[in-house]
Amino acid sequence: MIQQIIINSIISTALYILISSGFWISYRVSKYFNFSHAATFAISGYSMYAITVNRNYPNGLAVLWATCITIIIAYSLDRIIFMPARTRAASPTILMIMSLGVYIFLQSAMALLFGEDNKNLWYGNVSLGIKVFNARISNIQVVIVVSAIMIVIILRMMDKCTKYGLASSAVSKDKELARISGINYERVMGFTNIICSTLGSVAGILIGLDLEIEPTMGLGTMLVGLVVVIVGGTRNILNMVCVAILLSAAQDIAVWYINSQWMDSIALLMLMIYLIIQSRRSTNLLQ
């Protein structure tokens, strides 16, 4: 039993990393929590559903198609809605409220187009999964874990070794200084958007293949992203990984001892405690 709990924690951690990585990059560069990113999980899931239901497309092509659709929609929304607001120097509060509006719009649009019932992306045979130390892990869950590890490595390398990584680090530290130094802020935001929507698309498709998709799946992912990004901070992606491990361990222990219905509360209690401790620490430093 304890082995299954450990395997479940590893899978949850990987899932939280997949979900939070897009929010992390977006928050790091834009300095506001982009709620609309939560809609990309459902957009990718439903895009894949639209192409695979009643058709015999290979899964790889369907994933590519879903990812392209998600990137196009997310990038278009950023250019049409958020870029004009950023150009007019809108405050982070205004941008956050706009992102909330976009999320509600997209969530309801998907409910209208595809219905409110849950849908499954997996059409193959249901198997027992791979046995690992008296615990079971399915093939999709192995893909989730491997994808999460690859994403962390790629993001870390991108941060250190690519022009975009250096530019985004500069923008995250001081936007005005980066602009003066010649970094095109909107180009960096555009790239960020593409990367975020790609990550969101991968996460949404894997969640859909492992569990199921529904129009409101973005809300749960938004909460996870909020906790992991705010508690982990934006300085180092490994902090985000540590918080994801802590969060999944806390939730799995809570499920073991209390009830699975309190999982969301555990995550948000963690966020509340962190925010309170952080505010007290800031006050003590000022004194």
Binding site: Y32, F33, I81, P84, A85, A90, S91, P92, T93, I94, M96, I97, M98, L100, G101, V102, Y103, I104, F105, L106, Q107, S108, A109, A111, L112, E116, L219, L223, L226, I230, N259, Q261, W262, D264, S265, L268, L269, L271, M272, L275, I276, Q278, S279, R280, S282, T283
Partner: protein
């Protein structure tokens, strides 16, 4: 006519909720997403008192206000040291935890099944059981909330709130205890929301957790933004527009599942459009742009 009376009662309740958030977000510049949590707390405390202890509505409202006030003080006291963004996240976390408690503490709240059979309101021997009676009762509470808001914003206290909204550092430099002002206005806002919840519980006579989720808080935020933040009449206009809109869709003859999603699409679109072109709303004065804030 009964149908119109029902719409008016709901509009009056949402005006109170809009006033509650407008005081905190529109006049003080502290954006929160936990109005529905206090709305739900008011509804549940009143319903539990009325059903389990058979207490009078007046006593229930007093107990609701005291309990909600204590909880709001605890949350606000922790949040007063935080920057605006972190306080918003704190309120989101609080809202979702409260929603989880409503849904999962089955022994107290009956969970997703909700609480049914909430009795009518009896005040001084008068029984408020019809929609027309509730129009009057909710109108009195709504009018009182409006008067309280007007009294606060036109007082020296209100001027300090506006200073905090426009430039928090300037308010601090002027020697004002910004934290305490924020806590006080947060508590007052939560009291108004909890009284609205008490009215809602007795009017509908059934409450369940789905009425007090984070989406409800976002809807109340939409009322304030579209009506106008920082204006006395903003929440009134916002509530009338946003509560009447689904009723207009009903007359178009759409199936309820389509109408529900279309309503949400319109709310989302309105939020985006207003934030892009008129962030201060139809009648408001505050456009969510602070000059400086405590980091």
């Amino acid at each position: 006519m009964n149908y119109i009376a029902q719409i008016i009662v709901i509009i009056e309740i949402y005006i109170m909720l809009g006033i509650s958030l407008n005081l905190v977000g529109g006049y003080s510049g502290i954006l929160t997403l936990c109005t529905a949590a206090f709305y739900g707390l008011g509804a549940y405390i009143c319903a539990i008192m009325a059903i389990n202890y058979n207490t009078n509505f007046a006593i229930n409202v007093v107990i609701t206000c005291v309990s909600t006030g204590i909880i709001a003080f605890m949350v606000g006291n922790q949040g007063k040291r935080m920057c605006d963004e972190h306080f918003l996240f704190l309120t989101v976390a609080f809202q979702i935890i409260i929603s989880c408690i409503f849904k999962n503490w089955i022994a107290l709240t009956k969970g997703p099944m909700g609480i049914t059979g909430i009795p009518n309101i009896y005040i001084f021997g008068l029984n408020f059981d019809s929609s027309f009676d509730f129009v009057l009762l909710a109108g009195i509470f709504c009018g009182f909330s409006f008067w309280v808001c007007m009294w606060i914003v036109n007082s020296p206290f209100g001027r300090i709130l506006k200073t905090i909204r426009e430039d928090e550092v300037f308010a601090l430099a002027g020697g004002k205890n910004v934290g305490n002002y924020k806590v006080i206005v947060f508590v007052v806002g939560s009291l108004i929301a909890s009284v609205a919840g008490a009215l809602y519980a007795h009017y509908i006579t059934f409450i369940d957790p789905s009425s007090f989720t984070v989406m409800e808080s976002i809807f109340i935020l939409s009322i304030v933004i579209i009506g106008g933040a920082g204006s006395l009449w903003g929440p009134v206009v916002g509530a009338v527009v946003l509560v009447s809109l689904p009723e207009i869709l009903r007359f178009v003859g759409m199936p309820s599942s389509v109408a529900a999603n279309l309503r949400q699409i319109i709310y989302g679109a309105l939020l985006v459009v207003f934030m892009m072109w008129r962030p201060q709303g139809l009648l408001g004065q505050y456009s969510f742009q602070k000059l400086s804030t405590k980091e």
